[in-house]
Symmetry: C2
Subunit: 413 residues, 2 copies
């Protein structure tokens, strides 16, 4: 692609991101746009008219997802879907989610300008929700597209102002799907471009991450009961110190996680001490364990090993410890053929890429078990996300858009 | 002492404790009686009239301490003072403090009944305050008696309802001492009987603890700055995990403390994580260290060793750690001659005693640097104190009262 063409495309992307970012703009130039809010509805409506203006055929589905389609000239029962989510966390950035929608729109525009209409349908999707930031439910958009939502799952949910999920949804004219299954058999691939939300690409000076799998997340709460005692009058030998036990467990779990090696990660992010007073031996400690891996067997092996460690430390220290698992997500591999395609493009275009996993969840993991799915990462400065400080150098994300455009050309033309 | 005499004395102690415990009685049969409250004033007034009835000469000093004196027949410039504090923590028990006052009153009553008036003056003191439970200031009673309070120390203090220390004090007719120094040269010994507030005597099945020293308390806050990161997208090798660092430090500090051995104790009682969310690598941790010993040199050696450990762990893990000391109390030895006296009595009476240190603070530590001081412990069931569950078997505390009586006979008759 020559330099002037590249600049035109870059400006299109930057302009559309800027236009979208006016919807829900916060004081410090971030974005707050939660599911079924007024500003969320205005954003989807703006996108609908923008897509129409650009020649896409638009449609809302029953649950709030917006589609913009360019019909193919040949395989009209085959659709390549490109997109991401339009919602944000509270005080989020300008790239998480909407960059994937903008990338799809601009890539398709450019393809048509350069090569005319595609053989297969190209369809951009602006999905209603992924973050779970208004209601305690995630992937509302993609789960509906693949038919993985039961009405019961959201029926009791309310936001922090007491508005129910259903009330918020019907207020904007949406509802449940009539037939909650993957009605569409035309989707032949789903492709998502997203910021990494981690610091790996930046640290390794790569513009592109080709995601080979999204980790499965497993979460636990470890509850340790010891004995609260006076810090002065209880000799060391008479103590049942739950925080001392927790310290040994935390160190052992993390060191064991390091031994397992990448891509396993394990995080103890939350720890609460009772009574949490400097002159009382801690009677009770609760801490969380979050562990993720792209291989379910390996992460389960890790879990069974750290559970043994917890049990043995607890026994040695005469503590009473419970291990409660409250999340059991499975790893999801991305489509190998699409990765091979993308890798070839990166090599031929001289792009600095890295084949990597995703440690965070994305809509792509909902599509992947149903249709061939690709997830393209672009770098996040300092790994920061879910913050107005979220930033990617436009030259980097334009490498991602260029890769997306080339991939679409290869599979849809 | 024959059985019936012992029972009369026991009933006197039980009755006076019960009478006193009506003042500030809580729903669950505990006691709340904080400095300069109405109920505190009523308690001191009740005690004043009780002491008068029993033949003591009573007096309040300027700051709120109540004294009941029996003049000696011979050495009238020499006074043996016996007592403890009349205030309690919020929802405290019936023994912490007032048992030492009641023990003094009953022991003196019995001595006079049996042997007539003493040679030296015997004086019971019901000290205004020791707990620091209304205002953030401790040992108001004993510090005033030995002249260790500067007006400035309490001038700015307010309770949680916004009432100032001075307002509360003057409201009950008290004020600062005219001459804030140890005006009285007549006090030749101070003797305090107190519940152990720990579980050592119970575990070792002893009725009496002869305290040889009160620990010095040193307190620290350790502040660790790492880097808050996404739990999924940050590989283990890229983390600066402040809670992992804290875990290693806590385990090392406690294990080192155990190596130092009794009577050293070290407690990490408080730990706060920021942001304290299961899916974020902890950016910041603050934890407390409380360490106590009867030997100042040894505890300082321990502190310098654990500070080195903290520094080395912090450096290895690329964390930024600050160690701030906010309390530096010195150990206080009790009078050796008095201990020898008491030990002989215990042996001759066949009492199960243990020479031990105190891990908690007591009025005795304020007196000890100025006058020969003895501290007698009686067991605390399960080591529980500062709770309505506080309990000592009357047969155990009566051993303490009997020891006190014998000691007073030896030194004042």
């Amino acid at each position: 692609m020559d330099e002037s063409k590249r600049n035109v495309m870059k400006n299109k992307v930057i302009n559309l991101i800027d236009e979208l970012s006016e919807y829900g703009k916060t004081e410090n130039d971030g974005v707050t746009r939660t599911l079924f809010s007024d500003i969320w509805m205005e954003t989807q409506s703006f996108l609908e008219s923008d897509l129409t203006k650009k020649g896409f055929t638009t449609m809302f589905d029953e649950v709030g997802n917006l589609y913009g389609t360019v019909r193919g000239t040949q395989d009209t029962d085959e659709t390549i879907m490109i997109g991401s989510h339009i919602d944000t966390v509270v005080n989020g950035g300008k790239l998480d989610g909407q960059l994937g929608i903008v990338a799809g729109i601009v890539a398709i525009e450019e393809l048509i300008e350069e090569f005319g209409l595609p053989k297969k349908n190209l369809e951009v999707v602006s999905m209603a929700e992924e973050e779970g930031s208004r209601f305690p439910f995630t992937f509302w958009g993609s789960k509906n597209i693949v038919g993985r939502v039961a009405e019961e799952e959201v029926k009791g949910l309310v936001d922090q102002d007491g508005v129910s999920f259903i009330e918020a949804m019907t207020d904007k004219g949406f509802g449940f799907r009539n037939n909650n299954s993957l009605a569409r058999s035309d989707i032949k691939a789903y492709i998502e471009l997203h910021i990494e939300q981690g610091g790996v690409l930046e640290k390794e000076e790569k513009s592109i991450g080709l995601v080979n799998g999204i980790v499965g997340q497993k979460r636990f709460l470890i509850e340790i009961d010891g004995e609260a005692n006076h810090a002065g009058t209880t000799p060391m030998g008479y103590r049942k110190d739950s925080l001392h036990g927790a310290s040994k467990m935390i160190d052992s779990i993390i060191e064991l996680g390091k031994e397992f090696g990448d891509p396993l990660v394990v995080t103890i992010g939350r720890l609460d001490v009772t009574p949490n007073t400097s002159n009382v031996v801690p009677g009770k400690v609760i801490f969380s364990v979050d562990t993720r891996h792209t291989n379910n067997e390996i992460v389960n092996e890790f879990i069974s090993k750290f559970s043994e460690l917890i049990e043995s430390i607890s026994r040695d220290m005469d503590l009473n410890t419970k291990v409660n698992q409250y999340m059991d997500g499975y790893p999801v591999p991305m489509d190998e053929q699409l990765i091979t395609h993308m890798e070839k493009i990166c090599i031929s275009k001289g792009m600095d890429y890295k084949i990597m996993h995703s440690g965070a969840g994305h809509d792509a993991q909902i599509f992947a078990p149903k249709v061939p799915t690709a997830l393209i990462f672009v770098p996040s400065r300092k790994g920061i996300s879910h913050s107005y400080l979220e930033f990617t150098n436009p030259d980097d994300y334009m490498s991602g858009v260029e890769l997306l455009k080339e991939l679409l050309y290869e599979i849809a033309y």
